[in-house]
Each structure stands twice: as structure tokens, then as C-alpha cells.
Amino acid sequence: MHYLRISDAPIDVGEMYQQLVAPEYGGIDMFVGTVRQWTGKIETTKIEYSAYHPMAEKQLEKIAAPIEQQGGRVVVAHRTGQLVLSDIAVFVGVAAPHRAEAFKWCQYVIDTLKHEVPIWKKEYDTDKIRWGN
């Protein structure tokens, strides 16, 4: 059963990993996205994330459903609120019987999340504030 969460609560990777462990799985692939300081010459100091609840959660469920139907398990946690450098913004983990599906599905979840889930970042850079990318 998938575990999906969008909240202000800090993300504990160990706790997320535990949600993926089960005897039927032989491969667990995890992606952790953190707040990066430099994007080329732009220096970021902090990022504020906001979301459209509960549409964002519904969109995550739509992404997870086909993977779960094929026998995988999906765990996603996304932060909202203010994050500083190196904080974890997003965790995506997929457990599958074998590594090939685990890698493929994990990439699918994070790539699709970036296009289909109503979450936004407000980036505080040293020169100005930027919305989005």
C-alpha cells in the first residue's frame, strides 16, 4: 500500500525507507531532493514550498496507482513551508520485486510529480525572489 504525504513535517529518510521494506520486494530505489545553493551564478538562500491541498495528494495517488497495480510500492513525501540549504524537499521511494522496475518507476514518479502535482516553490535568491524554476 502506498504512502503519500505533503506537509510541513521534516522528512526522515530512515522512516520513509521502513515504509518500503517487505519480503516481496528485492529492490528499493530512493530519490532525495534537497535545497541546492547554486544554480549557475544564482545563489539560493532558502525555498518556500506551497501546495494545493488536497488536489496535490490526489495527483500523487494517480501517479502511484498504476505502479501499485503492477506490484510495486510507492512512498512520496514532499515538504511545504520554509526550507533552508540542504533540507530535504522531496522523498520518492519505490519498492519492486527487481531493480529494473524499481529504478524505472522511481524516475517516473519524480519526473511526473514535477509536471502534474500542484506544488510551487518560491525561491529566495541573493539577487531576487523567483517563483518556480
Binding site: G33, Y49, S50, A51, Y52, P54, M55, A56, K58, H78, A89, V90, I110, L113, K114, H115, E116, V117, P118, I119, W120, K121, K122, W131, G132, N133
Partner: protein, 81 residues
């Protein structure tokens, strides 16, 4: 018919959490976004790339029939992850 539209991110920063607009069914999504752009030209490029959500589902058609009690939202380009 008047409908309330929820706003997020940059749009919310500029116009507040919601706006009320006058629409006639069927509503062409591009026309609706253009209508708001005319009132707030600084948002035109963001609105041109925005999508409409009704009752928390993206509308992928060009037109939609809106009801007064629908939860309508403009979704600017997302940037999670």
C-alpha cells in the same frame, strides 16, 4: 454567471487567494485566462502557461461547463520536487 476562482503561487502573491469573474457557459479556458490577463497584464505570461482545475481535476479540454458551486482553480506552472 459569477464564479470564484482560487489562485496559487505567483498568481496568489499578485491578486490574493481568489478572484471572482463573470463567465458564460460553455467557458473557453483560453478566453477565461485572457480575460484575467487583461485585468492584470503583469500576469499574462504566467496565465498563458496555466491550467484550469475544476473540483481538483485538471481540465484538458478546450472548453468546460462550470457550475456556480464548482471548486475552480487556476494552476500556474508547477515547481515541486
Amino acid at each position: 454567471m459569477e464564479v470564484k476562482i482560487r489562485l496559487f503561487a505567483f498568481l496568489q502573491d499578485q491578486l490574493g487567494p481568489s478572484i471572482t469573474v463573470e463567465v458564460t457557459n460553455p467557458v473557453r479556458i483560453k478566453s477565461l485566462l485572457n480575460q484575467i490577463s487583461q485585468q492584470a497584464p503583469q500576469l499574462s505570461s504566467t496565465l498563458a502557461n496555466s491550467r484550469l482545475a475544476v473540483n481538483q481535476e485538471f481540465i484538458n479540454d478546450e472548453e468546460v461547463i462550470l457550475k456556480a458551486n464548482d471548486e475552480i482553480a487556476i494552476i500556474p506552472p508547477v515547481s515541486g520536487g
